[in-house]
């Protein structure tokens, strides 16, 4: 059987541990304890996880971080299980889900919902949520931190590149190193309780309900910081749901977190920073990037990233778009075409590009579901990725007890997410009368955040912020 695990990498090593036994459609596959079900299957060469509910189209993974529904399978008799965020266990039985899925098998005794009070509840353990938790705790608050993934760190855990930004704010440090440090600090803080693998699925009159596969807890918080991140944007082209078409972030998760090859020949769609950085990271992992397709007339990301991949012979096709994914049950090629000034494909310019993977890096959309349920004021702001909550300088939304930080409050980058998290975390603690951290610390972070946004790439963000920032 295939094994798509990467053996050697210039930056990363993976401590996989001893294999566990997982059954997939009746046969044994090799899986390692830290892997999620979707990752282990992908490593074993399985690309199709289900057939869709109406048209019985093949489906595989898309986002790999628990946002979409593309990787749902039947696990230990339970249908509609998100396999990308469920860690493997010895003896697990995984089945392809066909159509709507079969009725669940008889379950062990059903559990109810526990209730828990919380001073500060932080939803999401990425860069913003980690900083928010840390600083709220440092100021003296008791914090509960929820995260739906098996491990904390959000998307920081896959950023192998070095960050820009000022010296004080981690410039020149790799994202993975920052993540490790933050996670260690959070875990070592006694006043932070972490619920890993818990997805916050609903807002019920000031309470947030969260659950993993076996437990549900209704949190009654005094302050909530929503740091739920963002979801990869989808593009509209024929067969865009075919296994092998997935988000650039999913490719990063596969190779940088789990050490699994996303494919052998990858076509990248989108030449923003994410598209360029992930293309380079694919090459670092020994994978061929057959081209980068970009609809705009020029590259959107930093030129330093673009020249890095161009130097290695990768074709960057500006003013091009993807028209179709070609294949039967997984991608075998892509049809790309030139576009005119109005982004319309020019007939006759179609060409077939051989590839087994199409990575989309078309931007991110803030995950605002909880904020929407809390009935906050939201506004569509293209510069920030979609609908975002209106808020003040302290990241306080139109409900004084709810804060938003990081990509959930507008898509930007990890450095700014961390600062927003810190500002919100401190403010939530101050609101509750905890003042162990002087207010000057928060003030300085605000200045640093403004500084970071003052650069040329912050201009767009600042336009977006004008639409949603409520001045006092």
């Amino acid at each position: 059987m295939d094994d798509n695990r990467i053996a050697t990498h210039p930056i990363l090593t993976w401590d996989r541990g001893t294999p566990v036994r997982v059954t997939y459609d009746g046969r044994q596959i090799t899986a390692y304890p830290r892997e999620t079900v979707a990752m282990a299957l992908y490593a074993a060469g399985v690309k199709q996880y289900s057939t869709s509910s109406r048209f019985y189209r093949p489906r595989g993974m898309f986002c790999a971080i628990g946002k979409c529904s593309s990787c749902m399978m039947r696990v230990d008799g339970i249908p509609n299980t998100r396999t990308c965020v469920l860690q493997v266990q010895d003896g697990m039985d995984v089945e392809t889900q066909h159509g709507d899925g079969k009725f669940p098998d008889v379950q062990a005794a059903m559990k109810g919902v526990k209730e828990k009070n919380a001073e500060v509840l932080v939803v999401g353990g990425g860069p913003a949520g980690l900083e928010a938790s840390l600083w709220a705790a440092k100021a003296g608050a008791d914090v509960i931190l929820l995260d739906q993934n098996p491990q904390l760190g959000g998307q920081l855990v896959k950023q192998t590149h070095k960050f820009f930004g000022s010296a004080k704010e981690n410039a020149g440090t790799r994202g993975i190193t920052i993540a490790k440090k933050l996670i260690e600090e959070v875990v070592a803080t006694p006043s932070i309780t972490v619920y890993s693998g818990f997805t916050a699925f609903g807002w019920f009159q000031g309470a947030v309900c969260a659950a993993d596969q076996d437990h549900a807890v209704l949190f009654q918080p005094r302050k909530v910081i929503v740091a739920t991140g963002a979801a990869e944007k989808m593009l509209m082209f024929r067969n865009n749901d075919m296994p092998g078409v997935f988000g650039a972030g999913a490719a990063q998760t596969l190779m940088n977190v789990y050490g699994i090859k996303p494919g052998n020949k990858v076509l990248m769609v989108g030449a923003g920073n994410v598209g360029l950085i992930v293309s380079y990271q694919l090459m670092q992992a020994g994978i061929e990037v057959v081209g980068v397709v970009e609809g705009a007339p020029r590259v959107g990301g930093y030129l330093v990233h673009a020249s890095k991949i161009a130097r290695n012979g990768v074709r960057i096709m500006t003013r091009h778009t993807v028209l179709e994914a070609v294949g039967s049950d997984h991608v075998e090629a892509a049809i790309v075409a030139e576009v005119d000034e109005k982004w319309q494909p020019i007939p006759g310019t179609e060409q077939r590009v051989e590839c087994d993977t199409i990575c989309l890096s078309a931007g991110l959309k803030p995950s605002t579901e909880l904020l929407e349920q809390a009935k906050l004021d939201l506004a569509y702001t293209g510069e920030l990725g979609g609908w975002v909550a209106k808020r003040n300088w302290a990241m306080r939304t139109s409900n004084p007890d709810i804060f938003a930080a990081g990509d959930a409050s507008g898509v930007e980058e990890a450095s700014t997410a961390m600062m927003e998290g810190k500002i919100a975390g401190l403010q939530a603690a101050y609101d509750l009368g905890h003042t162990d951290v002087p207010v000057e610390e928060q003030k300085e972070t605000r200045y640093n955040l403004d500084d970071l946004r003052a650069g040329p790439f912050g201009a767009k963000i600042c336009i977006g912020l004008k639409c949603v920032e409520v001045l006092e």
Partner: protein, 97 residues
Amino acid sequence: MTREDEKTIACRCEDISVQEIKDAIHEGYADLQSLKRYVKFGLGPCQGKTCILLAAQILAREMGQTLDQIMTPTTRPPVDPVPIGFFVKGKEADDEK
């Protein structure tokens, strides 16, 4: 009318094509909320995390509007799939996690 968008999927959970959304807009479902209820995108296990924005983009294009003129449809729990047993059993005493 070209049916080329039939194989372009907007909502993965409910298997809704871009063509079906376009057709419904031309039938008169001209706001995101009624469009969602009629076509049934965004009502599956992921609750629209991918498709709502796509539907908004299609609606804006077909209606000649900009995205900031389009209201988000109502979001309801659960936004992620969770075992229904939790709701059936309701609250229970708190011993430990």
